[in-house]
Symmetry: C2
Subunit: 252 residues, 2 copies
């Protein structure tokens, strides 16, 4: 039994619409279809693959959803690169459905963010730096408004990651970053010292990045992330609960 399973491949008994999707996907991954290239029209595809247009359309939906193709100018279908945002959204969604806990997410950003800060200090551009400073300024003004400050904090961290000029890093943290929103909002809102500590850390990180001091940036970011964890505990939330339940948890 197990031998047979190892011996024989699935032999492609997939429905036609899946095979069509796979075929186009292969063309894209092989580089024969480049991002931006227009795909044939549905009727043309139907003819080429000897399938009905309905079937072709189903296959196209798969491509569309995987981000490998998108409607250009509302109409024609063009090859595209899956966007970081969309992928991050999918990943976040999946993590929520898997009841991922705060601890799990925190451990990931605790690993990624300090690294991002360090690399940012090494390779940031002037535009990156300006964006960080603008964010700092806005944060100073939003010090009282928990909701706004939360969004600015998330934005700050994303800007740091962008400054590191590393798309893999950006994608990885995008997936987990968004999920912290509710948790962070609770901490910032309930802990009156949180806003000031946050700003201190952000200022220090931005400054270290400006000076090009990677180790300093890494260290501040690490403490900043650990601070978040402490805040989460102080506010009375349980790190072992699914992140999706933050709204329900009694954080009184």
């Amino acid at each position: 039994m197990s031998d047979a399973k190892a011996l024989f491949q699935p032999l492609e008994p997939a429905p036609a619409y899946k095979r069509l999707c796979q075929a186009i996907e292969d063309e894209i991954m092989a580089g024969r279809l480049k991002p931006g290239d227009l795909l044939p029209t549905e009727t043309a595809l139907a003819e080429a693959f000897a399938l009905n247009r309905s079937t072709v359309r189903e296959g196209i939906r798969l491509l569309e959803q995987s981000g490998l193709a998108e409607r250009i100018a509302g109409r024609r279908l063009a090859v595209a690169r899956p966007s970081t945002k969309a992928l991050g959204r999918r990943a976040s969604q999946a993590l929520v459905l898997h009841d991922v806990t705060f601890r799990e997410l925190w451990q990931v950003i605790a690993a990624l963010e300090p690294a991002a800060a360090a690399y940012a200090a090494e390779v940031r551009s002037d535009a990156d730096l300006k964006a960080l400073k603008d964010n700092l300024e806005a944060s100073e003004e939003a010090k009282g408004d928990g909701r706004a400050l939360t969004e600015l904090d998330l934005a700050f961290h994303e800007l740091v990651a962008k400054a590191a000029h590393n798309r893999a890093l950006l994608l990885a943290r995008e997936a987990v970053g968004q999920l912290f929103y509710p948790a962070f909002a609770v901490v910032v809102t309930r802990l009156d010292t949180a806003a000031e500590r946050l700003l201190t850390a952000h200022r220090a990180i931005a400054e270290a990045i400006e000076r090009g001091d990677g180790e300093e940036a890494r260290g501040w970011m690490q403490r900043h992330i650990e601070d978040f964890h402490r805040g989460y505990l102080l506010v009375g939330l349980d790190p072992e609960q699914p992140i999706a339940s933050v709204n329900q948890q009694d954080a009184g």
Copy 2:
């Protein structure tokens, strides 16, 4: 012009098949549809949404591709959690299409793997440990076979991540880990010292995890990852080239 873009939202007259997908997705994310639940049949959905079955089928394809639904027993459609494997595959694909470089991927791994090793040392189960030891044993025997050793190395790192019992971490590294395969194969094959160094590191990591010594595990893992980077350079590959081009690069 730029004002108009900021003023007006897209207004979202999305096609029916997208709205259907969104509607079901919302039900899932709200928890009213749980993983495992059977979705209505296509005809039932068509009736419920007052759409044609063809249109419903297009919407279903979107759900299917996003991993939120899958065919159970070949036929009926059931709510599902997007699998880590599938998500990782999509992410890998996206990274390749974005011409992500070795450097970018390596920086992510360099941040994640040491953390994974440290956490693994703290929370690993006996089964995790056994899997690691089995892998070590197999690796000893495959010392000569570059191809096999490459696969075993990737497996070892995945086992470490699994031992950390952190699904977010697992997902993040899955996306980048697979992409290293060709790069790693080249290094192991061309550098005759690589196999031995690799085994030494793996042994030390496994031992530290067994002892529950997180810092030791982290340290060894970190050096192990840095070693990989050195090997990549020694073999003559350029870290700033897209990872997808490893096969083309002259690594002589």
